[in-house]
Each structure stands twice: as C-alpha cells, then as structure tokens.
C-alpha cells in the first residue's frame, strides 16, 4: 500500500551558515495493507524524521513515497501538491505523536465528537460513540467535560490515540505513542492499536520499547543498516 524508495532527508540550516544536517539517507521499504511495520534504530538515527517525511510535515530531499489510495489512485507523497496531501490527511492518513495537540478550551468529549462528526457520523450517534470510546480506555467520566490540558500524561495520550483511531484512517503513522507512560496506560493503548490493525488499518510505527514491537509488529525496518529484519 505504501512504497518508500530511496528516500533521503537533509536539513539546510541557514542560521548556521547553511550547514547541512543529514536526517536519514536512502531508505526503501514497502508497508503492506493491514500490517504494522516497526521502524527501529538508535535515538537520533532519523526515525521520527522518516515518519514526518511520509506525512509531509517535512519535505523529503530525494526519493519517492508511493501511496495507493482507497479509490485506487497512486500518489507520490514526496512531491504531491499541498491540496492532495491535505485531502489525504483529512480522509485516509493519520499521524500520532507522543504529544496531544488540540484546540484549547474544548472539552475532551466535544473534541472526540467533533472528530467523529467530520467523518459523516450523525450527531446523536457521534456523542454516544465518543462516550463509548472514552469509557473503553478507562478515562474517568468526571473528566469527559474537562479540557484535556487538565489531564494526566496517560489520559492525554489515551485521548490522542482515540482521536487518531476515531477518524479510521487507512494509513496511520505512530511516533512513540507509548513513550513515558505508566504500564496500565501503555497496555490500553497497545490493545487499541492491535484492535485497529485487526480491522485492517495499515500502520508504520516507532516504539521505544521492545515489548511493544513484539506485541504489535509484523515486520521491522532497521535504520542502522537500512534493511528489513526479523521482528524479534
């Protein structure tokens, strides 16, 4: 579904006299439909940079990212027009980082409901579905009408994952979604990701711990050697 070929990213830092910093170099892999591909390698090797290049938060310097869309069209995400990327982000591509970014002063339940509404779910149904989700991930009912900025780290991240999954993207990019979480929150999030995968979502993920990789991934790409390797 997604084929990355010869992808490289370098940053030219004008504020340091045009210093070139290499993000990563010559990455090639294929992500298969309904599977989770884990990206591994030491800190600073460019794992997050790679995910951001696929999502086009970063502009790739070289190479291609061929994506097969739900309607059968093929796009090179590395060079596609901004309008195309915006449309794909809205309809089929998601990205989750370890930080929750939401509009200030909107309650958790409203944020989640609005996300569902943008997916053409009926208003009455959306609220019920949102409540179901929040209950499922064990967020205390007393918090549903609070702003997420008042949540604990674990609660914020559970909401973050819910928001990404609620819009049911075909391709989801996960950038350390379980970093710095307690084991209980982590377990809940890993289960959610596994459920989504069972429903056919394609995922590419960066995880800092080996357990998560073993539990979730179908294949592993090692950025030290730029090759697919065995999962464990």
């Amino acid at each position: 579904m997604l084929k990355v070929e010869g992808l490289s990213k370098e940053f030219k830092m004008h504020i340091r006299d045009g210093l070139i910093i290499e993000g990563f170099n010559e990455v090639s892999f294929t992500a298969c439909s309904g599977k989770l591909l884990a990206i591994t390698g030491a800190s600073g090797i460019g794992k997050s940079t790679l995910l951001k290049c696929i999502y086009r938060t970063y502009k790739p310097s070289k190479g291609s990212v061929i994506y097969l869309s739900g309607d059968g069209s093929r796009y090179d995400l590395a060079t596609a027009e901004d309008q195309t990327i915006l449309r794909l982000r809205k309809t089929e591509m998601g990205y989750v980082s370890q930080f929750l970014h939401v509009i200030p002063r909107v309650s958790a339940i409203d944020i989640l409901t609005n996300r569902l509404l943008s997916k053409n779910i009926l208003p009455g149904e959306a609220k019920d579905t949102a409540e179901g989700y929040l209950e499922k991930v064990g967020i205390n009912k007393a918090l549903w009408n609070m702003y997420p900025s008042t949540f604990s780290g674990g609660e914020k991240q559970r909401l973050n994952i819910l928001l990404a999954l609620a819009s049911k993207p075909r391709l989801l990019l996960l950038d350390e979604p379980t970093a710095s979480l307690d084991s209980n929150s982590k377990e809940i999030i890993l289960e959610l990701i596994l459920d989504a995968k069972k429903m056919g979502m394609t995922m590419i993920g960066v995880f800092h711990d080996q357990d998560a990789i073993k539990f979730l991934s179908d294949s592993r790409y090692d950025m030290r050697i730029n090759q697919l390797v065995a999962v464990s």
Partner: protein
C-alpha cells in the same frame, strides 16, 4: 477541496508607490523592497497565490512585508499598479477583477467578499447601532426587506455571541473583543464566499483572542467559507491555517502546508522567523 478550480486566483499582483525607473522596472534587486535609484517602494512585487474552496490560507511575515496591502488590494481598498485576480464565482473566473468597472467592483465587494480589519474603526460605523452595522452590509448587498434584515442581524450577532438585548447599542460602547465580533458578523452578513481577515486578534487579550479564533474556525467549518488569515502571530496561524505563505519585502518567499512551514522551513528568512517563536 478542488485542485482544478481555486475560488480565488491572484497573478503577479503589484502595488508600487512611485513611478519606477529603468532599473527597478526590469526586476533588478531592490533594497528592502525599495529601488536604490528612483526610491519607488514595491509594496507588492508580483504576488501570485491560489485560494481553494473551504480552506484557510495563512499569510505570515514581518510588518511592512505587504500582508495587509495584499488584502486591501484584493478588497479594492487600495489601487493596484498591475497584475490580475480571478474569482470563480464572478464570470466563471474568467474576468480579471481589477479590469472591471467600479460598479462591478462594488458588486464583488458587497456580494462575494467580507473583510475584517485589525482596527474595528475601519470596518464599523461606531455611532450606528450594531444591528444597523450589519444592516448596512445587507443593504449594500441589495436586501430591502426590513423584517428579514432584522432577523439576519439577530441571527448573526447571536452567532458571534453578542447579546440580543445589545443589538440596538452602538459599538463605541463595546469592549475591543466585542467590537471585533460585531465586525465579523457584519463581514459575514452577505454570506461571502471569500472572507479576508487582517490581524483580527492582534491587541485582544488572550481569552478573548481564543474566543474570536474559535468563532472564526467554527464559522469556517459550518459555512465552508474560504478565508485568508493575515497574522504575524505564528500560533494563530498554526491553529487556523491549512496552508501558509510567507511574505518578505513584498514577495511570497515560501509556501506550503502550515505544519511544514513551521517545522521544516526551507527559506532562510522563514527559518529565522520560526526560530524566533518563543
């Protein structure tokens, strides 16, 4: 979003103060947007952009970069020196809106566009009632029925959270945030397809700023209006805009997805701008 057919296309727009000379008219290098020989100032120097249906396009840049001049040129507040612009809802986007009669320009301004200025004094009549302000725009758009005008004014002012019982009051009695909300409702009165917003939250305190932005975002989602949001505040741009263009010395120097502009700026000036963010 329709890639093939933007609601607004701007091509090579120029606003120049001064006659220009053989040097700068050839497109030679300027000093901070000013010709070193004839001292003409190029406030807009061949600006081109597309605005797509239902999107919010952000414009950032330092003061004097031409952001406001661009909006005012598009709203016919300011004479242009050269260039073209096309609106898909006017003559199927085939007629350059700078080459039409003043009457036709007024028609576009009254029927197709809305403008919200940084300073409410620019957009409101401070000694008319709030309802009267909204009605003024409705009358300009050709509506003559007093009953339906009152209804529309009530609906709009309610939408921007101005209490109905203050509809007869003059904006000069209102706080800055409330004046700004009256101005937004006035700009929306004619159901414009394009809304231009010039630093609308600059100078408002933080909580009011958030409410005005919430409101604009909600209106955009409900009504699907295409907007150009000018701001020097990058957090406003991050919250509002899908795409962003960066202006410097009358030119667009970089454009892209808002998150890309903020996280992976390519142009030297954009890098300085983004890294200046506290």
């Amino acid at each position: 979003m329709n890639t093939a057919n933007p609601v607004l296309r701007v091509r090579d727009l120029i606003v120049r103060f001064g006659e220009g000379c053989n040097y700068c008219l050839q497109g030679a290098a300027l000093e901070k947007g000013r010709c070193p020989y004839c001292h003409s100032v190029w406030a807009l120097n061949k600006v081109s952009l597309d605005l797509y249906k239902g999107e919010i396009l952000g414009i950032v840049g330092e003061s004097g970069s031409g952001k406001s001049t661009l909006l005012r040129a598009l709203y016919f507040d300011r004479e242009i020196t050269g260039g073209e612009a096309y609106i898909s809802e006017y003559k199927d986007g085939e007629k350059n809106i700078f080459e039409i009669s003043n009457q036709q320009k007024r028609y576009i301004r009254n029927q197709k566009m809305g403008m919200v200025y940084q300073n409410p004094i620019m957009g409101l009549r401070m000694n008319f009632s709030s309802g009267g302000n909204v009605a003024e725009k409705l009358i300009a758009a050709g509506i003559r029925n007093a009953g339906s005008m009152t209804e529309r004014a009530k609906y709009l002012l309610n939408h921007v959270e101005v209490p109905i019982n203050r509809i007869k009051e003059e904006p000069k009695n209102f706080s800055g945030g409330m004046q700004q909300r009256v101005q937004i409702s006035k700009a929306l009165a004619n159901n414009p397809s394009i809304l231009l917003l010039d630093e609308v939250t600059t100078g408002l305190d933080l909580s009011v700023q958030a409410r005005v932005l919430d409101l604009i975002k909600r209106i955009q989602q409900e009504l699907g209006i295409s907007m150009i949001v000018v701001s020097h505040d990058l957090s406003v741009i991050r919250m509002m805009a899908d795409r962003t263009v960066v202006m410097l010395e009358g030119r667009i120097i970089e454009e892209g997805l808002t998150d890309q502009i903020l996280e992976d700026p390519i142009h030297e000036y954009t890098q300085i701008l983004v890294h200046s963010l506290l």
